[in-house]
Symmetry: C2
């Protein structure tokens, strides 16, 4: 059975849309069909710069792209504050939605989008690319191995990047009316997702922001951290920042093993990705070394992780389009849980670092 | 000028004393001279099992070893609750002191020991071995490099180990009357030291224990964490546990660089030790990889770190003995700061995770 080719439209010419355009080109079941910007010139320039097919449709408004009956799915890289408007309209137009993260300014917004998707039978998935790297599956197998990893107890995850002066002044991620969740919505999203991923998507019971969060003059978060606490005693600590050097790690510690990855969001190189797994390690007899040593594991990546993401999304859309399947709930459920924890961290900061219970 | 050979006596036959006996043998300026236990048979068996010279002195009480005028320095691996008694007596007997960590049950105890050392002109140093690994100096150079690392902003440090049932029932580190500080005094000591080391020994202003600390029935800490906050906005998170798999890492993040080490306490192997340094890294143009990649740095270790420790301690003692130098204050100051932070974390746990100001 030949795979259904899904025709993608992109609404908005954000930087990240360049990478996703390439991913759509690379994914075997996706077709780069159309792009829309608020000006047709900008859309045409984007299409040209990003190797769109010569017959790609160029639209001067998002609405016109959504009105094209041949568009199966849209990629939405717009600022978070525009997600509800455009994702809901896309759903009403029966377009499946690949939505950039954070999915909403809060979970109520995302729920509005989810209702529109459900009412119109369309698939939604967020753009968290690393979830789709084949390495992620390998790491998941280690975490799920009761013999090698045991029971998860602790998770540390960090995503920091040193934004330059221009970013800190002008980027949409520091503007309250655009990506108003700042570093928490951008970098923090990944650390929350990594934490939930490691915990097999079991939500923590309580979230407490670490003191020392940094906000800009407009009140947008530039750096923050939090500890997350589960009923069974699991603890996670996460940290995100626009103010310190690029660092992206996850360390998950179980009763019998430890997973460490230094480049979980964007692997150091595209073609392969590594992680360290340590299992049942102890010190040697005189406590002068380790037995066994950690193992460095490298996974060959035949398709870039963002193309794997597009392929997975297009597969789900194809199931709906060609076989009448129902939209998959796994991915939107993960998005929603990530947003729930994000909301709780933000609330904890606003309440002066008080514990916040996660309401599901 | 030939180095002065320092004659060591060991009081107590703890497991860790085996490793330090070997270190004294290996250090070029140290001589393994005597051992004392509460029974002479035990001391003799220890000496035999640990390659003491055939003419080593064997004592059936700590007092008798301290009364031997040829002993220059003592190594004290006794439970923390015995530190004040035996360290103060050793000082009174003019013995220089290599003291296991944690140095006291609280900083008041350590101050009592410090007063005894000062009154008697003896050197004191704690047994934090990794401080003396040549790798530590290399990592320090990176952290101090304003061009490559920038300003320190965040520190993560963890030491967890999965103790077995016997340990959790019988080890002195779970007994309130012996090493009553539990995992915080044992594993936590290293993470606090690593944090202070990274911060160039600048004390944090505020310490807040993370919720979810685990205590045994006798009230001894089995697992805990804390965040540390400096006046200038630096933040550290540390975590220690007897209940999860062996994990020992430090990640220090500056404005321009990141240091990561996975085996800071006991290097994976004895002869060489590695760390990862990343400097001015950013994503490539399409955000599909890093430029530059992190650099893995390996340091050749010609003398095991614990022997480096003994050598450094014996050097300071030799300066006093042979040249009338004053006892060095650097090492005891570091010990005291470590204990101060440790006390604050313990107080925060006892106060229900309230912020505790560090009183210097």
């Amino acid at each position: 059975m030949a795979e259904t080719l899904i025709r993608f439209g992109i609404i908005g010419c954000a930087e990240i849309a360049r990478k996703v355009s390439r991913a759509i080109t690379l994914a075997p079941n996706a077709h780069l069909y159309a792009v829309a910007s608020r000006s047709v010139e900008k859309a045409a320039a984007f299409a040209k710069a990003n190797n769109f097919p010569s017959d790609a449709k160029i639209y001067g408004s998002y609405e016109s792209l959504l009105d094209d009956p041949l568009v199966d799915a849209v990629y939405v890289p717009l600022p978070t504050s525009l997600h509800v408007k455009w994702a809901c309209l896309a759903a009403q137009k029966k377009k499946h939605i690949l939505l950039e993260k954070p999915v909403g300014l809060n979970v109520a917004e995302f729920d509005e989008i989810l209702r529109a998707c459900e009412a119109n039978g369309v698939q939604i998935m967020d753009g968290t690319m690393w979830m789709h790297n084949p390495r992620t599956q390998k790491m998941r197998e280690f975490l799920s191995d009761k013999e090698r990893f045991g029971e998860l107890r602790t998770i540390h995850s960090t995503f920091t990047l040193a934004a330059d002066e221009d970013f800190l002044k002008n980027d949409i991620r520091v503007k309250p009316d655009l990506d108003g969740l700042g570093a928490l919505g951008d970098a923090g999203w990944y650390t929350i997702r990594a934490t939930l991923w490691a915990a097999d998507y079991e939500l923590p019971k309580t979230v407490i922001a670490l003191r020392g969060s940094v906000l800009n003059e407009a009140g947008v978060i530039l750096a923050c951290g939090a500890s997350l606490h589960w009923e069974d005693g699991k603890v996670a600590v996460l940290h995100c920042s626009f103010l310190t050097h690029l660092t992206t790690f996850v360390t998950a510690i179980g009763t019998k093993g430890t997973l460490h990855v230094d480049d979980f969001i964007i692997p150091f190189t595209e073609k392969e990705a590594s992680y360290t797994a340590t299992s049942k390690a102890w010190f040697n007899e005189l406590v002068t070394g380790w037995v066994p040593l950690p193992s460095q594991n490298t996974v060959f990546v035949d398709l870039p992780q963002e193309a794997c993401m597009v392929r997975e999304f297009a597969r789900l859309v194809g199931n709906i389009k060609a076989h009448g399947a129902k939209p998959d709930q796994t991915w939107p459920t993960r998005s929603r849980k990530t947003q729930l924890v994000l909301d709780a961290i933000k609330t904890s900061i606003e309440k002066g670092f008080e514990p916040v219970e996660i309401a599901n």
